[in-house]
Symmetry: C2
Subunit: 337 residues, 2 copies
């Protein structure tokens, strides 16, 4: 049941109250089972979750200038009439010390914008859980009237793959080093980019950045013949300090949006993501049941001694646990005779 306080809360989120949105995101991020149920009810109250939003992932290695880039990109999108939310997917924060969005003051331009909402880093957690929570957080931001959601992630492992599963378009930031080589970028990171940006292309790095851009364009043309609906990744240089650079990035993003909307790839990607999210949610809920449901926990404890002594195989023990999960008597006879 969705109770009245939940409906009132939903109404306040829809009205754009920042406090209500912030509290809702905190609820979404909670791992407590009772909070999960409450969060689902709140999301229900905010349904239907329509697709009239633009979810933009921004990834790249540490130090490539993601925060400044997002700050400038967000400001440009607001100037074009959008309302912009900024979130972070950061499965590595526990390990790295958490630089992603750790300091809201790094986004000076967005900090002063009434049409921007910048959410600080969530507090770690497993990748799957982070992805699920990020999906739900995006829905909340959209319900609150933010029609662009920028999702920042550090491209250090699998997180850049995860971000591609929850956004409409991925921007990969790269950087030329003192030569024209890429600096600190992981294999596989470039391949997820719909738009690849050679960032910090200013001062004495301009020539190297342009050489890197040309090299990347050639490499990506060979590596990925067809992206979503035949989209060929665009490769640009950019200085987040120059408005003209950001205008070119926005143009590339619009070009991507138009192309994949026309081809149907946009809608297909959203549907694919929702189905993946469903299966993710089932897996997560099952994993929760294994440790939270009293009958399942009891069934596992009951078979443990026989399994650990080798009297019952793991497969047979699993059947007993599953029977409890399904609320049924085990189909097979007990093993010890």
């Amino acid at each position: 049941m969705t109770d009245d306080p939940t409906r009132r809360w939903a109404t306040r989120i829809r009205a754009g109250e920042r406090g209500a949105l912030a509290r809702a995101i905190t609820l979404i991020e909670s791992l407590r089972p009772e909070d999960r149920a409450h969060a689902e009810a709140l999301l229900d109250a905010l349904a239907p979750h329509d697709a009239a939003s633009w979810r933009i992932g921004v990834t790249g290695p540490p130090g490539v200038g993601k925060s400044t880039f997002i700050d400038s990109l967000g400001a440009a999108l607001i100037a074009a009439g959008h309302r912009v939310a900024v979130l972070a997917v950061d499965p590595s924060s526990a390990r790295s010390g958490g630089s992603v969005l750790g300091d809201k003051t790094r986004m000076q331009r967005l900090a002063g914008e009434s049409a921007a909402y910048v959410r600080p880093t969530p507090t770690g957690g497993v990748l799957g859980g982070v992805a699920r929570r990020s999906r739900d957080t995006i829905l909340l931001c959209e319900a609150a009237g933010y029609d662009v959601v920028l999702v920042e992630t550090v491209g250090v492992g699998q997180s850049e793959i995860a971000v591609g599963d929850i956004v409409d378009v991925v921007v990969v930031l790269a950087m030329a080093d003192s030569g024209d080589e890429l600096q600190g970028i992981k294999r596989g990171l470039l391949e997820v980019g719909d738009v690849v940006v050679v960032n910090k292309a200013d001062g004495d790095r301009i020539a190297a950045s342009e050489a890197t851009r040309a090299m990347l364009e050639g490499a990506l043309a060979m590596a990925r013949a067809t992206g979503d609906g035949g989209w060929q990744p665009r490769v640009l240089t950019c200085s987040s300090l120059e408005d003209a650079s950001i205008v070119r990035v926005v143009a590339a993003l619009l070009e991507h949006r138009d192309a994949v909307t026309a081809s149907g790839a946009w809608a297909e990607r959203r549907i694919r993501q929702r189905l993946a999210a469903l299966d993710d949610a089932v897996r997560t809920a099952l994993a929760d049941l294994m440790v939270c449901d009293p009958e399942v926990v009891q069934a596992r404890s009951d078979v443990l001694p026989d399994v650990s002594a080798g009297r019952v195989t793991a497969g047979r023990g699993a059947q007993a646990v599953l029977a409890a999960l399904r609320g049924r008597a085990p189909l097979a006879r007990p093993i010890s005779e």
Copy 2:
């Protein structure tokens, strides 16, 4: 129920009939649900699965000489009165073309031994599934009277971790290259070794092998202060062509067995493995249910349109699937009002 043919089959396996064992392993490796049920019944009929066996994992990079080493080690163990089964865990066979045990004739000495059973490579599959099937295959071999099971795996990724989860002791094969460096060995591979063998220490490689051995011994003494029950990995040089080498390897393995038996670490490791196998089996069975159970499949199809259109959140859709899995009515009201 365990029917009479299954009991008769079990009796023939216990009597050491190779054809019956081979057919049983093929059954274990089958992915068909009805074969899984039959396999469980057969394993039940062979219970209790006692611990009077010695499970030895052998891993190392491609080209390090695993087959010849296993051939010589197996022959030495047979000479000491054991009966030896050789299995392979090869999650990479689909990709690499499958060199592990692909050619039984590479084990010339074991091929002629009546006390040896060499099982060819299983035909690929996911890592989790391979580990489960390998666990059950080990039980079958033990029921058939093989008191030593040698499990071969290529140390190319996570498989060396997986092999440590199903054996009592892990032998890692390394090799000196033309200098005294290690050749083609992955980070993390050495750490799983209870006994590390610098193989092919013959001809003009003897000096380099000894230098590599000393280097590894020093590195491992620092890296792993205490293994199972305080065991310090032994590092040996070996030429599989020389009986004296293999005798030293067997001595190191016996030393490990005595030490971990005395400390209780042996029994603890087996128990830990069985509990991990239980949880693996539950996960696998749940994944099977998601695609095989008619009610669950139906529930998922029922929510798919609403989830893919964004009308129902993934979390709420998952609750409907779980309700079907548990044979219960969904606890929550439908979302569309």
